[in-house]
């Protein structure tokens, strides 16, 4: 195990003294407090820390779902803080894919429709998006359940759908927020294997939030430890 400097890899994602504060009653919650880090192209990074350490807030900042109070978030040298909400939406639909702990699939839609949804926002032709949705679902091993609804699938299968949806617009950055949190350990491992394989196959950068260190050590190339909104340490794994 060795510590890693920010300049070691060719950075895809970089944060510079990024802060995210929330007013709470009379006080201010410092969810992210001056974190500077960088993630290289194709790298698989795990953000670790206790609940309230700022992992998910940092992930939301990287996803462009939230805006920093100060500092900057640079993805491929584009500062997300200076983007308009329309530009951030475009960034989310074409540059980033997100996987959530609670899967966040739309229950009224079939899994194919769920996977097609980001492509609708990206205005992909109907025929093409149907084909791409089918391809993505086959990649995650759900080619036989295209017309099923999320409620008809197991947790692991739902997370696979979520992953297929995240990959629908072929992003360069995959952000996973506790992707194994709602799964048993074996299914969790399967999902992370899938994420790693796809990351390697597609040359995709992965930033994963988890509190399961053992899993993170097995799949990530680097661990980043957060505590009280600050970056505590980083460890590169062999």
């Amino acid at each position: 195990m060795r510590s890693v400097s920010a300049s070691e890899a060719t950075a895809t994602v970089r944060t510079e003294r990024v802060c995210r504060y929330y007013p709470m009653g009379g006080s201010i919650i410092r969810a992210v407090d001056g974190i500077s880090l960088s993630v290289g192209r194709g790298e698989f990074v795990a953000l670790l820390g206790q609940s309230g350490s700022g992992k998910s807030t940092l992930l939301n900042l990287l996803a462009g779902l939230d805006r920093p109070t100060s500092g900057s978030v640079l993805v491929q040298d584009r500062d997300l803080a200076s983007m308009s909400s329309e530009e951030l939406a475009r960034y989310r639909r074409s540059d980033v894919g997100m996987v959530f702990q609670a899967f966040h699939l739309i229950p009224s839609m079939t899994i194919t429709d769920n996977v097609e949804l980001p492509m609708r926002f990206a205005e992909v032709e109907r025929a093409e998006r149907t084909q791409r949705a089918r391809q993505s679902l086959e990649q995650v091993g759900l080619g036989h359940r295209l017309e099923h609804r999320p409620s008809e699938l197991s947790g692991g299968e739902q997370q696979r759908v979520s992953l297929a949806r995240a990959l629908a617009n072929r992003p360069q950055l995959l952000l996973a927020d506790e992707p194994t949190g709602n799964l048993d350990s074996r299914t969790g491992e399967d999902i992370l294997n899938l994420i790693r394989d796809l990351s390697l196959a597609l040359g995709m950068t992965v930033v994963m939030v988890t509190h399961e260190r053992a899993l993170a050590e097995r799949f990530a190339q680097r661990l980043i430890f957060l505590g009280d909104g600050k970056l505590l340490s980083q460890e590169a794994l062999a």
Partner: protein
């Protein structure tokens, strides 16, 4: 997101809460139906009123009088006429000039004289009026017993039913095909030697000196006429001088018979040849009446058309339509509140879904557009359903009114008429109102913070 995707997703979302969205759509349809029913009632009543006026045959007619005669309808017009004696005469050359005007189809004098009918050894007094061939189109002849004049100057007569009853109280219809004798006064020229002056075409002697020795004789004449038809009501809705006759002859025949009229006395005093009291100028298209009226005014005559009289009627119906529209819109206003309520509920229920959509790339505009599309779709379906419902209401109104009128021995009338433009306009209005109702929920949905909504569960 493309329009197709917006509509597709909107319809899918609407299907998720079938009962609630269905009820809201029914609410909109009731609003649209109410609006359509009210406006169509306004249109129907207006058409009913104008049909009566149009049936009078006056919408395409301009009445022309000379400024030398009487006062007109418009007193201001008289004040402008400082020297009436210098105004042109309403004579044959003027009539010919009017006949040549663009859009004019017929120029006929209004002939109304006193006459006596001799039938079955009895004499009956009545007003004789001349009718042009165009009078056949008048609604009074819709229920004509027998037939119309066989020609423009045929020796035929049509009788008003009341007069026919006077001639034959037992069976007035029996008169059809029979001959009656009309006694009338013929206007005859004075012999040339009595004045020493040349005669004019109208049978009068010309006033070539300052002498007042000028005039004509009225000689009693008889004319055999064949009764060809009987009408139940006065032609032109009883609105014209010629309507108030009881014995109707072709106008050309009255001219041929040179019947002496009340107004001939005025011509005689004036010392002019034969002049007309009133000429009725028939125009090809009611829309051209003003144009023809202007042209005749420029010739120096006084004109009057029903368009002048219907201006106030149109004003009345505009106000009526406005009020009916306002009352009809009340139900739609209530439906608008239902749309707002439905969509606000949908925003609350679908917070997480909105968060997901934003997280995977939906812009604020996409979210807003989606809720707009849902509101628009409800408006569209509500509008279509409302039209169907409105048509059913209208049908019921017409059937009900028909039954009521028939019970009172009156012919059934369509009081509810939906003009075709109202179908498109009502659907468009329904969509517009729904979109306006969707403004607040849509912008509320678009403003949702995805981070907060994803935490919501």
């Amino acid at each position: 997101m493309t329009g197709y995707d917006l509509f597709d997703l909107a319809v899918r979302n609407l299907r998720q809460s079938k009962l609630r969205n269905g009820l809201t759509t029914v609410g909109i349809s009731v609003g649209v139906a109410s609006l359509v029913a009210m406006l169509s009632l306004g249109v129907g009543l207006q058409k009913l009123a104008t049909r009566r006026l149009a049936g009078s045959g006056m919408f395409d007619t301009v009445f022309v009088t000379s400024k030398q005669d009487f006062r007109g309808m418009d007193r201001e017009d008289d004040q402008k006429t400082e020297h009436p004696e210098k105004e042109p005469l309403l004579d044959q050359p003027a009539r010919d000039q009017m006949t040549r005007l663009k859009y004019v189809t017929e120029v006929e004098p209004e002939v109304r004289v006193m006459g006596e009918v001799v039938y079955d050894g009895q004499t009956h007094f009545g007003f004789v009026t001349g009718l042009p061939v165009s009078a056949r189109e008048n609604e009074a002849f819709d229920n004509l017993e027998g037939k119309f004049f066989s020609g423009p100057s045929a020796e035929d007569v049509i009788l008003l039913n009341d007069f026919a009853k006077e001639l034959n109280p037992k069976d007035p219809k029996q008169l059809i095909g029979q001959e009656i004798t009309l006694r009338y006064g013929e206007r005859q020229a004075l012999p040339a030697e009595s004045t020493g002056r040349p005669q004019l075409s109208g049978g009068e002697t010309a006033d070539t000196s300052s002498s007042d020795n000028f005039g004509f004789s009225v000689v009693r004449k008889t004319q055999a006429l064949k009764v060809v038809g009987i009408i139940q009501e006065e032609p032109y809705g009883g609105m014209r001088a010629v309507s108030r006759g009881r014995i109707f002859l072709p106008v050309d025949l009255t001219e041929k018979l040179n019947m002496a009229q009340f107004t001939d006395m005025r011509s005689s005093l004036r010392g002019a040849g034969k002049t007309y009291m009133t000429l009725t100028v028939r125009v090809k298209d009611p829309g051209k009446v003003s144009e023809v009226q202007d042209a005749i005014n420029k010739m120096g005559f006084r004109t009057f058309s029903i368009l002048d009289a219907t201006k106030s009627l149109r004003r009345f119906f505009t106000v009526l339509d406005l009020f009916l529209g306002i009352f009809g819109s009340l139900a739609l206003a209530v439906a608008t509140l239902a749309i707002i309520n439905t969509l606000v509920m949908a925003v609350l229920e679908r917070r997480r879904e909105i968060g997901i959509m934003k997280a995977i790339g939906a812009s604020d505009g996409d979210v807003k557009g989606l809720f707009f599309a849902e509101a628009g779709a409800m408006g569209f379906f509500g509008g279509v359903l409302g039209i169907v419902l409105g048509l059913a209401i209208g049908k019921a109104i017409n059937i009900g009114t028909g039954i009521y009128l028939r019970r009172h021995q009156l012919p059934a009338e369509a009081v509810w008429i939906m003009p075709p433009w109202l179908i498109g306009a009502a659907i468009a209005f329904s969509i517009l109102v729904s979109l306006l109702a969707g403004l607040y929920p849509a912008s509320r949905a678009a403003r949702l913070d995805p981070v907060q909504t994803l935490k919501y569960e």
